[in-house]
Amino acid sequence: MSMTSLDYGKYAIFIWPALAVTAAVLAWMVADSLLRARYWQKKVQVLEAARAQPGEKPAP
């Protein structure tokens, strides 16, 4: 294994943006998936709680 070098010279302006874009897109995919799952899980919990106590109106 050779020395790890982070100095990419004239190619740095292509390599770092590519890494940044990759990180951004992957992070967006992770965040969107997790938030979506959490949102609907909460929704189900709220609705189920409302069904367990019929007196109250479910949250809109």
Binding site: I15, A18, A37, Q41
Partner: protein, 238 residues
């Protein structure tokens, strides 16, 4: 395994631990793969830009792999009319579109120093662009039909049409333009890439795949909850 997972409750129990496990695997592989790609030697022709290969080529693999998953889920959904398969197909498309966009953007950033231009209308670039447009069309069709079951079936049919058409498109685009360098990883008689490049590439590809697996499961879970919330809301209203 498929039979067992076809039951939504069992799927939820399975994915509850499978998704985090896959996520941990993905994180580990991503760390290892990044370390390998940063420490890989420079290519004698491409210099430091060879490092772009380790994030670009796996994204391009995933663009196609996600489509294979989308097609398989759609086929199961259409043939067995299974709700979970429909949810899987629906959950797959945005991830596939994301990887395809990633492949296109990193490809442009690799093309500029290597070919001297951001964009070339060569066979592979054009095929991936068509694939991206196809993902968009798939999601647009799904969003434009209000009834969920009908939307799932219509987009499932479109996914199968695409499954037949995409190889034809690939062939036609290849025929149209055969200027690009031949595929260099899976070549007859063993891989032609030297091991110090093959390792980071392979590890990064596995990392992307594990990440996709984890996110796919999370999104299917979200779909299952969404369906549940909708039916609960209907019950409460009615």
């Amino acid at each position: 395994m498929f039979q067992a997972l076809a039951n939504p409750q069992r799927f939820m129990a399975f994915s509850r631990w499978a998704a985090p496990v896959l996520a941990v695997i993905a994180a580990g592989l991503l760390g290892w793969g990044l370390w390998l790609s940063f420490s890989a030697p420079e290519d004698y022709q491409q210099g430091a830009t060879v490092r772009l290969m380790f994030i670009h080529v796996p994204a391009a693999y995933m663009a196609m792999f996600c489509y294979a998953c989308l097609g398989a889920a759609s086929l199961v959904g259409l043939v067995f009319r299974h709700v979970l398969a429909d949810a899987a197909a629906r959950a797959c498309a945005p991830l596939g579109a994301g990887f395809t966009a990633l492949a296109l953007i990193t490809g442009m950033l690799w093309g500029r120093p290597m070919w001297g231009t951001w964009w070339v209308w060569d066979a592979r670039v054009t095929s991936v662009l068509v694939l991206f447009l196809f993902y968009i069309g798939y999601m647009a069709l799904q969003a434009a039909i209000d009834d969920e079951t009908r939307a799932a079936r219509a987009s499932g049919i479109l996914a199968l049409v695409g499954l037949i058409n995409l190889p034809i498109i690939k062939f036609s685009v290849d025929w149209w333009n055969t200027l690009h360098q031949p595929a260099s990883v899976f070549r007859k008689g063993g891989p032609s890439l030297p091991p110090e490049f093959l390792w980071p590439l392979g590890v990064m590809a596995l990392a992307y795949m594990a990440l996709f697996g984890a996110l796919w499961l999370v999104r299917i879970r979200a779909e299952v909850w969404r369906k549940r919330a909708q039916s609960l809301a209907l019950q409460a209203a009615g």
